[in-house]
């Protein structure tokens, strides 16, 4: 395989990771000034900032790889819905605090397994971004785990809300552990990560947290997929409309 071809593959892979981070970070910013109390409002902004920062690192690297003068903002603001490659779980609406907590828990556990693997990537930049990300993720996971315990084993209402959130989100977790051809190829080359190998440990960790929180793991009969091929839920279009309108209404301006 030629170096150029491989660059294209890494660019595509990096954009997927960037989209995951940006879309989740954007969703988290929707909590700012809506948090259940002030300290928690601040903590959620922190997590959002980490994800936006991570997105910028990935997009910055993608811009470098594209080598045609593209910037991070071109990727974030000038691509359409069908071109975004984030996993669906990231684009789902903010929901209530239980919903956001469960989404964070699922993603935090995933990242706590994924990023250490990406740190071993042959691609030094991806490895470096992962090394920075894992520090943040460990802190995120501590938070989402603590909240899952508190809310799961808190009041009858909080328990009900948590179980409902788990049931509504479970179907979107399957695509975290899939590989398409490109991802398989990069995993083989030790650039990317073999996500399929992460599921067993993810399940074990999530199940143990849920059971400690007196919550139940749903069965696997409901599966929704499509993020990596640009086959999105209706939520993403609205998110992008809002996020991109100003940038697009003043083309080629500096901000």
């Amino acid at each position: 395989m030629s170096v150029v071809l491989n660059n294209t593959a890494i660019l595509e892979y990096t954009l997927r990771l960037a989209d995951d981070s940006l879309i989740l970070g954007h969703r988290l910013t929707e909590w700012t000034s809506h948090g259940p109390f002030l300290e928690e409002d601040i903590a959620m902004s922190n997590v959002a900032l980490d994800y936006i920062g991570r997105a910028r690192m990935y997009y910055g690297y993608a811009a470098e790889l594209s080598g045609d003068g593209k910037t991070e903002d071109d990727f974030a603001f000038l691509r359409d819905e069908r071109e975004f490659r984030n996993l669906l779980i990231n684009e789902l609406p903010r929901g209530d605090f239980a919903y956001s907590t469960v989404r964070q828990l699922f993603i935090d556990v995933f990242n706590s397994l994924y990023l250490p693997k990406l740190m071993q990537s042959n691609d030094e930049t991806l490895a470096a971004i992962a090394a920075k990300g894992i520090k943040e993720t460990r802190y995120h996971l501590r938070r989402s785990r603590d909240w899952t315990l508190r809310l799961g084993d808190g009041t009858a209402e909080s328990h009900k809300r948590m179980q409902k959130a788990i049931d509504s989100l479970w179907g979107y977790t399957h695509e975290l552990f899939e590989l398409d051809e490109l991802e398989q190829q990069l995993a083989d080359q030790r650039v990317g990560v073999d996500n399929t190998a992460l599921r067993a440990e993810w399940l074990a960790t999530v199940e143990s947290i849920l059971s400690e929180a007196t919550l139940t793991r749903p069965n696997d009969d409901w599966v929704v997929k499509g993020g990596r091929t640009g086959y999105h839920t209706e939520n993403l279009g609205h998110l992008l409309t809002e996020m991109q309108f100003l940038h697009r209404s003043n083309p080629s301006c500096e901000w």
Partner: protein, 316 residues
């Protein structure tokens, strides 16, 4: 001399000597009340101030601006937190503070009742609103109540960042496309006057000023602080290449200050009294978030109690 008089004498001696009053020190009831009013109002302003800027978080036109704005709004939440903590040292609880904000008995800066209609408003707020706030807050670093003074020192550092970032945003707009420059001018026109009003009414009209000055809660008068801000803003507007919103602004050789046109105080009081675009919206937003979060706070409490009982059982 009664013991109360002695305490008062000692208190005034400390004030005169520029010693800080600390939470455990004796203080006159009215001093405490005055402080609670001022510090909580300040804290509420930080919290309500998250909303007009938060209004643009999901629409920021670049990733860098999005991150900068989010971290600014988060700073404001942090300022609210320090100030609530400082108020709590005076013997009032967070719940009481929030209730007072929500029922309207406590105020917040009226500047946040103005809508942020365009992206340039975010720049104008950083530059002018945080800029006006910092003029006031720098003088409050010398306020007589220790926890308030220390909160101001911390806050001022971050505020000066906000002002720089806001102004830097205005530079980008003013030097950008004609449409961007027009946005910058429009935002300046709308936020300049309300920013001047942040310093409060003229000293002659100010209900709390004289006492607060005597107790060194306030260190400089409304009009003096406002003049500082007017003076520093002229050159900044010029540098941007924008038109000064005050057609009467003029250098006064004699005083060494700029003279400007009179403010529209009727409009100011009308907004304070509830007729701003956002007065109701801001409080409703705060109430809605607070109510939406009630089940979370209850669950947290219930969980804590369960854990405590468990630990208790194990110990028994």
């Amino acid at each position: 001399m009664s013991s109360e008089e002695k305490l008062m004498e000692n208190f005034m001696r400390k004030i005169e000597a520029e010693e800080k009053i600390e939470p455990k020190d004796w203080m006159p009831k009215a001093y405490r009340k005055n402080l609670i009013r001022q510090i909580s109002q300040h804290g509420h302003s930080e919290i309500i101030g998250m909303q007009p800027e938060g209004n643009w978080l999901t629409r920021a036109p670049s990733l860098r601006r999005k991150a900068v704005l989010l971290s600014k709004v988060q700073d404001e939440a942090g300022h609210g937190l320090y100030l609530y903590s400082a108020t709590e040292t005076l013997g009032i609880s967070r719940a009481e503070l929030i209730a007072a904000l929500q029922d309207g008995s406590a105020k917040y800066a009226s500047i946040f009742n103005y809508p942020t209609q365009t992206w340039a408003d975010v720049g104008a707020i950083g530059w002018l609103v945080d800029g006006a706030a910092i003029v006031n807050q720098i003088s409050l670093q010398r306020t007589s109540y220790g926890p308030y003074a220390r909160a101001m020192v911390r806050i001022c550092k971050e505020e000066s960042f906000h002002v720089r970032q806001g102004y830097e945003m205005m530079i980008a707009l003013a030097q950008g496309s004609p449409a961007q420059k027009a946005l910058a001018q429009d935002a300046l026109n709308r936020f300049y006057w309300p920013a001047l009003m942040m310093f409060g009414p003229h000293d002659s009209e100010s209900a709390h000023s004289a006492r607060s000055m005597q107790w060194k809660i306030k260190r400089e008068t409304n009009d003096d602080l406002r003049q500082k801000f007017v003076d520093q803003t002229v050159a900044q507007i010029e540098f941007l290449g924008l038109q000064h919103p005050d057609a009467d602004i003029k250098w006064n050789e004699e005083t060494g200050h700029y003279d400007g046109g009179e403010l529209d105080w009727d409009e100011f009081y009308s907004v304070i009294n509830g007729n701003g675009h956002c007065n109701r919206q801001r409080i409703e937003h705060h109430v809605a978030a607070h109510e939406e979060g009630a089940w979370v706070r209850e669950a947290m409490q219930a969980y804590r109690e369960k854990q405590r009982n468990k630990a208790h059982k194990q110990a028994a």
